[in-house]
Symmetry: C2
Subunit: 498 residues, 2 copies
C-alpha cells in the first residue's frame, strides 16, 4: 500500500486508497511508518534468532527433543482417563491428579523422575495418614477446638517440614517430598473440615497419583531412557579427555618445534579452552550423582554403583584444572626467557606435558570402557620420570650464560672464524622467572594428576572394573562388529598408542 516515489529529486510517500486514489503521506506519518517497519523488522529478527538457537539446540541434542515427545506422549496417555468413561468413573472423577502428577514428575533423566515419583508417593502417604489422624483427633475435641487444633497442626508441621528442607542431607534426597508433605497435609487436614469422606478421597488421590507416576516411569524407562548415571559417567570421562587435550594443546603451542604446532593450530583454541568445562561442572556433577542414586541397575552399572566416587574424581579434576587455568594465565606474561635456556628445557617440558596428557587420556578411556588398565601404571611412571627429568635438568642447569667477550690482549682474526672466548655471566632472576613458573606449574599439575589417578583407581576397585587381560581378544571383536562409534574410536586410539 505504501509507495516510495521520487518526484523531481524529492522523496515522497504515497498510500493507495481502496477506491483507487492515492494520498501523499505527511512527514509524521512517514516517520511512524518507518519506525513501525523497523520495530517489526526487529521483532522478526529477534524471533528468527531465537528459532535459530532453538533449532541448533535440537540438532545438537536430539535426546532433548525425544524427551519433549515423551512428555507429550505421557500426557496424551494420561488424558485417556478423561475420555474413557469406565476409567474416569473408576477414579471417581479425580483424574486431574494423574495429569498433575505427570506434568510435575516427568523429568529429563530416569533418576530425577524416580526421585520425584518416590518422593511424591512417600510425601503423599505420610502426610495423608498424618492428616487423617490429626483430623480425627480434632473431631474428638469438639466444635470449638477443632479449627484451633487443625490450624496449629498445619502451622507447626508446615514450619517443621520447611525447616527440614534447609538441612543438606534432607535437601539432597527429600526436598520435593517435604514440599509434597506440606501440600498434602494442608489440603487433607483443612479440607477435611468440609468433606467427610476423607479416607475414600485419600484412596482415590493415591491411586490417581500411582497411575500418573507409573505412566511416567514406564515411558521414561522404556523409550530412549536418559540415565543420570550414564550421563555422569560420560561427563567425567569426557572432562578427563578435555583436560588432556587442554594440556596437550598447551604443550604443543609452547614447547614444540614448529612442525607439530601447525598440525594442532586449527582446533587448538577450542582444545585449549577445554579445561573451562571442568571448572564449571561441579553443580551438574552433584545433581547427576544425586539422581543416579535412585536409578536401578542399567547397562554396565549396578544399583549400588559408587556414584559418590565420581564426585571425588570431579573434585580432583577441578583442582588440576585450577592449575591449568593459572598456567594459561601465565602465557600472557610479558617477560621473556632467554633462548639458550628455553631450548633444552622445552624438550623436557614438552615430554612432561605429553606424558601427563597421556595419563589423563588413559584414565578417560579406562572409565569409558570400564576396564582396568595395566598401562596406566606404566604411563604414571613415565610421567614421574619426566618430572624427575625436568627437575634434574633444572638442577644441572646453571643460572649463567656464556657471553662472548673480546679478549683485550689479542687482535681480532681477519676471517672472523676464530671463536671469541666465552665468559659466564649470571642471569638476573627476572629472566628465569617465567620458565621457572611454567616448569613448577607443570610439576604441580603432574602431582595433581596423581591425585586423580588415586581416585580413578579407587573407582575401579569399588565398581569392580574388569581386568584388561580379556581386552585384546575383545578389541579385535569390537573392531569388526564396531557399530558403536565411541567405543570404536577408543579402541583405535588404544591400538595407536600401543
Amino acid at each position: 500500500m505504501v509507495k516510495e516515489n521520487e518526484v523531481a529529486g524529492r522523496l515522497e510517500w504515497r498510500v493507495n486508497m481502496p477506491n483507487g486514489s492515492s494520498r501523499i503521506l505527511a512527514p509524521e506519518s512517514r516517520e511512524t511508518c518507518s519506525r513501525l517497519q523497523s520495530l517489526v523488522m526487529g521483532i522478526v529478527l529477534n524471533i528468527k534468532a531465537f528459532l535459530d538457537k532453538a533449532w541448533n539446540l535440537a540438532v545438537n541434542e536430539p535426546k532433548k527433543v525425544v524427551h519433549c515427545l515423551k512428555v507429550g506422549l505421557a500426557l496424551s496417555l494420561v488424558s485417556v482417563f478423561y475420555y474413557m468413561r469406565p476409567l474416569y468413573d473408576g477414579v471417581g472423577g479425580n483424574a486431574m491428579w494423574a495429569v498433575m502428577t505427570v506434568v510435575v514428575v516427568f523429568e529429563y533423566t530416569v533418576g530425577s523422575t524416580l526421585y520425584k515419583c518416590v518422593n511424591r508417593a512417600i510425601g503423599t502417604c505420610l502426610a495423608g495418614s498424618l492428616g487423617i489422624g490429626v483430623h480425627w483427633v480434632a473431631s474428638q475435641a469438639g466444635d470449638k477446638f477443632e479449627p484451633v487444633i487443625l490450624q496449629v497442626s498445619v502451622f507447626l508441621l508446615a514450619a517443621a517440614a520447611t525447616f527440614s528442607r534447609f538441612i543438606p542431607t534432607i535437601k539432597a534426597r527429600f526436598d520435593y517430598g517435604a514440599m509434597i508433605f506440606i501440600l498434602t497435609f494442608s489440603l487433607v487436614s483443612v479440607s477435611g473440615y468440609r468433606v467427610d469422606k476423607l479416607v475414600e478421597l485419600a484412596h482415590e488421590r493415591v491411586s490417581t497419583i500411582a497411575i500418573g507416576a507409573s505412566i511416567c516411569i514406564f515411558i521414561t524407562m522404556i523409550l530412549c531412557p536418559v540415565w543420570a548415571g550414564t550421563e555422569l559417567h560420560h561427563l567425567i570421562s569426557n572432562n578427563l579427555e578435555k583436560l588432556a587435550d587442554s594440556l596437550e594443546g598447551y604443550a604443543a603451542e609452547n614447547f614444540s618445534v614448529d612442525g607439530s604446532k601447525n598440525v594442532h593450530e586449527k582446533d587448538s583454541s577450542k582444545r585449549l579452552q577445554g579445561y573451562k568445562c571442568v571448572l564449571n561442572s561441579k553443580a551438574a556433577e552433584e545433581s547427576m550423582a544425586n539422581f543416579a542414586r535412585w536409578e536401578p541397575a542399567h547397562g554396565k552399572f549396578n544399583f549400588r554403583h559408587p556414584w559418590k566416587q565420581y564426585l571425588k574424581i570431579g573434585a580432583s579434576m577441578r583442582s588440576c584444572a585450577y592449575c591449568i587455568e593459572t598456567l594459561h594465565g601465565s602465557i600472557n606474561s610479558n617477560t621473556e626467557t632467554p633462548e639458550f635456556l628455553k631450548k633444552p628445557l622445552n624438550d623436557v617440558c614438552m615430554r612432561l606435558g605429553t606424558t601427563s596428557s597421556k595419563v589423563l587420556k588413559e584414565m578417560s578411556s579406562m572409565i569409558k570402557t570400564m576396564k582396568k588398565s595395566t598401562k596406566l601404571d606404566i604411563l604414571v611412571d613415565e610421567m614421574n620420570s619426566s618430572v624427575e627429568g625436568l627437575q634434574n635438568a633444572l638442577k644441572i642447569f646453571p643460572s649463567y650464560q656464556h657471553i662472548p667477550t673480546p679478549d683485550p690482549g689479542t687482535e681480532e682474526a681477519p676471517n672472523g672464524k676464530e671463536e671469541p672466548s666465552l665468559k659466564p655471566t649470571a642471569l638476573s632472576l627476572m629472566e628465569i622467572v617465567q620458565m621457572a613458573t611454567l616448569t613448577s606449574l607443570l610439576v604441580e599439575i603432574a602431582s595433581r594428576i596423581e591425585g586423580i589417578v588415586e581416585e580413578v583407581k579407587e573407582l575401579a576397585t569399588q565398581a569392580e572394573f574388569r581386568d584388561e587381560s580379556s581386552m585384546k581378544s575383545k578389541q579385535t571383536q569390537t573392531k569388526i562388529n564396531g557399530n558403536d562409534g565411541n567405543e570404536h574410536e577408543v579402541t583405535m586410539k588404544t591400538l595407536q598408542k600401543v
Copy 2:
C-alpha cells in the same frame, strides 16, 4: 527388667517376670538383647546427631527459622478460607488452589517468590485462554474429531513448552511458567471434555491463585524480607573480604617475621581457606542474580540495579581465586629456597601481598557501603608499585651466591675475626624455582585483582555509587550513632587505615 549378675566369676542375664520370679536368659536371647540395645542406641545417636545439626543450622541462620514460621503463617492464613463460609462459597469451593499456590510459590527470597508468582500467573492465564480456545475449536469440529483435536493439541503444546524449558534464556526466566503452562493447558483442554462451565471454572481458579499469591507476596515482603539482591550484594562483598584474608594470611604465613605470624596463627587456617568459598559460589551467585531481577526497589537498590555486573565481579574473583589455590598448592612443594635469597625477597613479597589484600578489602568496603572510594586508586597504585618493586628486585638480584672459600695463600687468623674471601657461585635453577613461582604467582594475582577493580568500578558507575566527598562528615556521624555493627566496623577499619 534385664539384669546383669556376676555369679562366681560367670556373667549371666536375668529377666524379672511380672509374678516376681526371675529367669536366666539363654545366650541367644542375650545376643538378641544386646543387638537390639546397640541398634536402639545407634538410632538414638543418629537422631541426636541430626537434631544437633538442625539446631546448629537454626542458631547460625535465624533467618531460615523465620522463613519457616512465615510459611506456617501463610498456610494458616490461607486456610481461613476453608473455615469462613462466605469466603469459601465466594471462590466456589476451589480454595484448594489457594493452598496449593501458597505451598508451591512461597520461597526463601522475595525475588524467587515473585518469580514464581508472576510465572504462575502468566502461565495459568496464557494456558487457560489457549485451552478454552482450543476447546471451542474442537467443539465446533463435531464429536468425532473433538478428542483427536484435543489430544493432538495437548501433545504438540506440551512437547513445545517442554522444549522451551531447555533454551537457556527461557530456562532462566520462565522455567516454572512453562511447567504451569503445560499443567493448566492439559487440565483445561482435557477436563473441558466433561465440564461445560469452563470459563467460570477458569475465573475461580485464577482468583484463588491470585489470593494465594498475594498472601505469599504480602508475607514475604513485609515480615523480615530476605531480598535475593541484598544477599547477592553481601555475598560478593564478603567474598572479596575472604579473598583478601586468604591472601593476607598466606603472606603473613610465608613472608613475615615471626612476630606477626603468631598474631594470625589461631584463626589462620580458617582465613587461609576463605578463597574456597569463592571457588564454589558460582551457582549461588547466578541464581541470586536471576531472582534479584524480579525484585522491586528495596533498601539501597533500585529496580534496575545492575545485578549482572555482580556476576562479572564474581567471575573475575574466581579467576583470582584459581591463582590463590595454585599458590596454596605450591607451598607444599618440597624444594627449598636458599636463605640468602629468601630474606630480601620476602620483604617485597610481603609488601605485594599486603597491598593486594588492601585493594581487595577496599573494594569490599566500597561495595558494602555503596560509596565511591578515592582511596582505591591510591591503593591500586601502591599495589602496582609493589609489583614493580618485586620485578626490580628480581632484575637486580643476581642468581649467584657468595660462598666463603679459604684462600690457599694466606694463613687463617687465630682470632677468626678476619673475614674469609667470598667467591660467587652460580645457583642451579632448581634452587630458585620455588621462589620464582611464588613471586610470579603473586604478580599474576595482582594483575587479576586489577581485573576485579575494573569490574567493581564499572559497578560503581552503573549503580551510581555515591561520591566519597560527603563521607568524612558521615563517618563521624556513624561513629557516634553507629548502631549498625557492620557499618561501624567498616568505618573503624577505614579510620585505622588512614
